[in-house]
Amino acid sequence: MSAPFMSLYRCYQRSALLVVSRRSLSSVSPASSVSPPSSVSPPSSVSPSSSVSPASSVSPASSVSPPSSVSPPSSVSPASSVSPPSSVSPASSVSPLSSVSPASSVSPPSSESPPSSVSPPSSESPPSSVSPPPLHTRFLLYLTQCFYDVEMLQSWSFLQRWKWVQKRNTYYGYTEKNYGSNIASAYYILSLKGGFRFVGQSEWFIADRRSKFNWAFLDHQNTPLEEVNMNYTDINYRGLDNLEVQKSLRTLSLRGCPEVNDWFLARLHMFEDSLEELDISHCPRITTCGLAALRNLKGLKRLDVSSLHGISSPGMVIILLEEMLPRCNVTANGYEHTLREES
């Protein structure tokens, strides 16, 4: 059988299975409607979309709504008057494509986020935009809901991204065994395209865009690191294992790191004696709860928390931060402190 035919067949099978599952388990969990129906639905799963009334399937707001499902009501209403209420939602009997639309019409937030396998999810979901997501996103969502293999590939690629980040942040045990912990930390920083400066030296070792760097750092096996610049790198909490031994680290710059989150900040207590300057601006995943973890860094002199879009009330949080760290100079730009008019 040719491939397009097989996938088309599977499309019918998949939608047919969806239809069957909704029918057999339509009343099993009416209360579980907290989550929008997930597209990961093997036959025995529950999809609360069965409780969605036929009227909503005709709503133009549904992201994946091929024109055929928004067909003139006359074709839908006879079906609804014919079938008894306990059977499958009538919209699905019209065409297989419209079986997708009740599912998608209930889930505007998920359709707005672009294929979540590609971009790392931010801690704060983007505010609901009025415009529907771009065509390729909608198409991918439609494919995911139609084919098990597309869905499997998407969830696999999402996990692969996480595994890749974890792999980049592994513990450089081999380097540490052969060259010492300072060189291991240095090599780790350079592998992630960061930069550093040794104690007592003024020369910076930075990896450029093509990941090329000066190997001269190998000469300084016993010198610890003083300043580390990891702006816009993939460092995460696991990567701090490599920097744990740097007890004389004075400056740490983590501007715009996508993987720096609250758990990372909680681990920064290992530098509590020496750290004087910390820059965590533009990190999307940091939230208010993580900033409370900076309480241990009592020796901090300069802290930059600009443009942290994950924190909810920035003005309040900055004030509390300044109270918590009295000897610290807190820089917080990039927030709009205007009063909003109550409508």
């Binding site: 597209s39 006879p78 801690s123």
Partner: protein
Amino acid sequence: MSTWQRVHVHLRKAHGLFPVSSRRVTQPNTWKYGHLTLCKSLSTSRPLRDDFFKELEVQLAAMRQKALDALPGSGWSPLGMDQSLPPERADIVIVGGGVIGWSIAYWIKRKERERGGVKVVVLEKDPTYSQASTVLSAGGIRQQFSLPENICLSMASAQFMKNINEHLHVLNEDPVDLQFNHSGYLFLANEEVAHIMEENYKTQRSFGAHVSLLSATQLKEKFPWINTDGVALASYGLENEGWFDPWTLLQAFKRKALSLGAEQCIGEVTDFKYTSNIAITTEGDQVVQRRIKSVKVQVSNSLEYQHIECAMVVNAAGALSGKLAAMLGISLPVEPRKRYIYVLNCPDGPGLDTPFLIDYSGVWFRREGLGGNYIAGTSPEEALEPDTSDLEVDHQFFEEKVWPHLASRVPALEKLKVTSAWAGFYDYNTFDQNGVIGLHPSINNMFFATGFSGHGLQHSPAVGRAVAELIMEGNFTSIDLSNLGFRRIIEKEPMLERNIV
């Protein structure tokens, strides 16, 4: 005439293949848009001129639907069974839809080799969770225990929560945000119990927990708002400790378990059907071995019930697990105990770095949000345990038992206002206040995961994994929790935790 028209309408529905005859009957009497005539009825139910092909499509779809239903594998039955009842058969029935129950369901589904290989049904009697311990909990997690099992469970759970999106992420859904406050726990000890705290500290460090000991002066330096009178030693958690939103964790487990194929049913377990095997030991004692065959589930607010035939049952019923076990004749020493939590508002109180403070008198408090709100509570003495028939709050208890200690420990909290309060149940293990995980010797297929006495939420991911290992693989693989089994209850050897709240 109208009757005849209705008959024709029905005929048209049944066999959409004879449009000519129906049209012949109605045509002379109607205009194109159905004007009223003397011979026509006033019904507006359907247009009298209809498109043959549209109807054909509908008919074919309906026929296809009926054919699919008739095939084996669909849930349809000609007897028209009630759709709201739980299924008749399941592999594993988990009694209790709290965080422990859903965690076990998720992990079992995670560990099944084949998709849809194990049919897991989670029974919850109250879908609103109005009395469930999970949602009424303060939501704290700490590694500062004295039992190694508890320490490992907490650490594994914190590790799980660190990567929660990799575990519980559902495709095209919002990521899970637990709102984990990394503020740490602070335990205060006076002279008498300082040595216990030091021993506990050593145990915790040996398992890799990040805890530090502070003397009274160091404590004063770090937290100037604490009154350090009477404090000899303090134990402060640096990492993986804090509090989070229990509802989010529960919903995340539930959503992922449902997406992996677990099922949820609303109903209460009222009875079991089991077979008994009576054996006689060499001394002449009778030993009864029971095997549960089916669980009788009573649907809420209804007279309907359903017997679910199952292979295994997991007792994750929380505060009501004792009652459930009593149906099988087992005495499980778990009972509900009411605990109050009071929400306080104090604008001059300690700031963002307030940890979860637990005093040696038993009084605890923690920050809630950013607006100067705190929640506080304490454990009452054994003799003065409040009545557990309802969840009413006793405000007198706050004024007598909580506020004096709180005000003496934190002088800034002398002037405060109690904005609200709630009460919740502990699934209190009266034997030794630690969880019971594992099989009971006289029941072959009932697993227990209950009795955590206030620590269920923080251990839930790791406990779920442990019970799933027990069920799917036969014994504990990651953390060895055999010491938390039923053996210690039968042999009367309590595993007490020193310093619990």
